[in-house]
């Protein structure tokens, strides 16, 4: 046997380091940058609490497609867009408070289901290229969204509230205020600790989703999705409707992303009609990967570790950049670089490991045959 090298290493420590290289590197970066930035501990706790409650739902939406073998669902953008359409209508109809938010979720659900179904069909036709296709689909849908929201609304789709329309009479403004539903879920059970608002309502909802996901994995459908995610052919041979199962995973993910985006926006309080959803996919996926997930395996633990690490990095970078070189701009570019870089690195690592693992498997079988041969001398049959 050739000597062991990094690619075929069986040493558990090295393996661990390679498997979790992304979170480790980011953690080191963050540890370096926090003191540099000069921000206080209290500031971090406050920021992280907000960001945790704001972003977790969206990132949790990514888990189910990973289970079904669809990889990182770049198509959650479609769900985000559905959510925003719901919010536009609710704002138009001037419905405020928690009812307003729930109504937005209600209206956007069928839209999210439809978009998710469409995305599922497209992805089924691009087996093996799900992630690129999902990514391009997001861009494509953005164009359609623009046509609908920028040209259709106020025209073919009746909008009465002139506050949200552009001066020319149709098309939604670039930014609309969501003051009517601002922080309604966050403040649902108001709790303040040391001057920091703890958004119990949102956290409860997130916890519910976590429980749902854990329960879902134990159902037959969850098991079917896992089977499909492991091996399409064997799943099909054992009678599972692979195509339908894959589509279902995308539909569920899209609907969850829809709600996630609504939760996100209710916290922020304003909606950038054309930009809010743009980076949704990238940031959510980068966060998940920073949490130690991979294309084939993602858990709730990865989500929360990821949110904390990623968003700390996010908060810290501009300040650290300013301290380091006197330009906050540097920090901002840096965090964009990290977001894209994390995805590039994780995807490349996963693709490379996949091939290495196949190779290792092959060697294992080959080695086994040799041992078999040496032990048996002749393999059972020659006994006359």
């Amino acid at each position: 046997m050739k000597k062991q090298n990094l690619t075929r290493t069986m040493n558990p420590y090295v393996k661990f380091f390679i498997d979790y290289s992304v979170p480790i590197i980011i953690a080191l970066l963050v540890a370096f940058a926090i003191p540099l930035s000069g921000l206080s501990g209290k500031y971090f706790i406050k920021e992280l609490t907000i960001r945790l409650s704001r972003n977790s739902f969206l990132i949790l939406a990514l888990l189910i497609p990973v289970m079904a073998g669809m990889g990182m669902n770049f198509g959650i953008v479609l769900g985000a867009m559905a959510g925003e359409i719901g919010l536009i209508f609710v704002t138009d109809w001037l419905i405020v408070g928690l009812p307003g938010m729930l109504l937005a979720m209600l209206i956007s659900t069928p839209i999210a289901i439809l978009l998710g179904y469409f995305a599922g069909i497209v992805l089924n036709r691009a087996k093996g290229r799900e992630m690129v296709t999902g990514f391009m689909l997001g861009f494509f849908m953005n164009g359609i969204y623009q046509l609908v929201v920028l040209y259709g609304m106020g025209n073919i789709i009746p909008i009465s509230n002139s506050n949200i329309l552009l001066p020319r009479g149709y098309g939604i403004r670039n930014a609309i205020s969501l003051i009517g539903i601002r922080q309604v879920m966050d403040k649902f059970i108001p709790l303040k600790i040391g001057g920091i608002l703890i958004p119990i309502g949102t956290l409860l909802v997130i916890a519910t989703l976590c429980v749902f996901i854990v329960w879902f994995k134990k159902t037959k459908l969850g098991q079917d999705m896992r089977t499909v995610g492991q091996d399409n052919d064997i799943a099909r041979a054992s009678g599972i409707n692979v195509e339908k199962t894959r589509i279902l995973s995308i539909v569920i993910s899209t609907v969850l992303a829809c709600y996630g985006q609504i939760i996100f926006l209710q916290n922020i309080g304003t909606m950038n009609t054309y930009n809010s959803h743009e980076q949704v996919g990238v940031f959510a996926i980068a966060a998940l990967l920073v949490g130690g997930a991979s294309v084939a395996k993602a858990s709730i633990f990865n989500v929360f570790v990821g949110v904390i690490l990623f968003h700390t990095m996010f908060v810290v970078s501009p300040r650290a950049g300013k301290e380091l070189i006197g330009q906050a701009q540097l920090g901002e570019y840096f965090r964009v670089f990290v977001s894209y870089g994390v995805i590039a690195f994780s995807l490349a690592l996963y693709a490379w490991r996949k091939r290495v693992e196949k190779e290792n498997e092959r060697r294992k079988v080959m080695a086994f045959k040799r041992v078999l041969l040496q032990n048996n001398n002749t393999t059972g049959g020659d006994k006359l």
Binding site: K218, K220, Q230, A237, M366, T379, G380, G381, D382
Partner: protein, 541 residues
Amino acid sequence: MESKEKYLLKMDNVSKDFYGNQVLKNVNLTVKIGEVIGLVGENGAGKSTLMNILFGNPAIHETGGFEGKIFFDGKEVNFTSPFDAIDAGIGMVHQEFVLIPGFTATENIFLNREPIKYNFLSEVFGNRLNLLDRKEMKKRAIKAMQMLEVELDSNMLVNEMPVGYRQFTEISREIDRKYTKILVLDEPTAVLTETEADIVKKVIRKLAKKGVSVIFISHRLQEILDCCDRIVVLRDGSIQKELFPSKTNSVEVAEYMVGSELVKNIRKSKEKRKFEETILKVNDLWVDMPGEQVNKISFEVKKGEIFGIGGLTGQGKLGIANGIMGLYPAEGEVKFKGKSISLNNPKDVLERGMAFVSEDRRGLGLLLDQPIFWNIAFTAMQIKDDFTKSLLGGIIKWRDDKAMIKVTREYIDALKIKCVNEKQFARELSGGNQQKLCMAKAFALKPELMFVSEPTRGIDIGAKSLVLDILHYYNSKYGTTIIMTSSELEELRLTCDRIAIVDEGQIAGILPPTAKPAEFGLLMLGKKSEVEEVLTGEGKD
């Protein structure tokens, strides 16, 4: 001693043809309740087709169905999908594992038939929202494995299991099914150690005692003799004979499997050619080709010989050529004309003067979307810089299409390749002409030694002899050494000077073409100690 026991399975005059090619002819097979049948046959004898028909493989239906009737458990049946067969009580353990490596043994045993705990959500959203009853799954998995008397942790992941235990997991899956009445095992001991194989044999007898019938397909004759009640020998699509282990022996089985008539046209008059030099010396070759693994093979080939390699499918004969030519990972030592070649390096082997006509014509042998002249000339262009014009002092090697076409026309004539012209796409040619194209590609390299694998597979009868004649021609005119790998014993005996039979990845023996067919059969069935190795010039007659 014909007792009036009920028949569980009765296949009545079953015939099947694939687009005119008759694969099964009037097969009559019966299996009693609790009986263990051994099914033996060469490649292409029809074993897999017969089982595919029984198991409802959609490929059968899509190619015109079958003739004849099948009676199972008293009723006439016609399964159009494996699920119908499974529901009726037919279980099958295939040669390739259908296991999910990342799942536990329990999960694999219950794949898509997991016991379920009902909950109210399924009323609304469909019954896939019921929870899995993992306790029940574990209980039943342990029960199945107890029957096997195997110490298997039901929670172990398949990819962490020793290979033999994966086989047991597969068998457990079939045993757990409550309604399994008959179990088909296709080469179940291929990857097992002796002890593990014994366990399988014990399980088969246990199942038989419990009233489950077993159809046991294997090429390991001793196992068949050990645990079957009756042996059915298939040859050329029909049942040659049914034998009882207590009343027969391996030679008889081998004879029926391979046939005992002498091959027509065998060159009795052909003098045993004498060869001096060794051109290829293979030592301890290991080749990792999925499905055709080679496990420590050594042999020598003399210059100018036509050396045949035969054996049953999956036993490794195809791996030899593929490994030496660098297409699949290989280890060991191969010396060509006295000097070692570097393995896993197709370029080196081609440059030294060896060429290969692969068995995978369409996948590996040709660029289907390129014209004929491209296909013929490409390798020669790569290895020998043929068909290129040097420009700018040799930095640029311009492709010389005209020269490629000229040479192609010569080959089209010489090999009688039927085509519109040399610019026709390879995809459009018939199977036989594609094969000739692959051979032309190899000949264009003017090799000293040529590997040819499955030269007449998928070719109609008329073209078969043409292809073999071409090989003879090149061998006699240019002295090209030919190593021919084939599933068809007859064509090996027609063409070759010596024939090696590969079994379980090793050479079971080397025989002259004039050896009795039964001897070949015995080698294929794993009885190599029976037959003395024959060196050229010292053969038995």
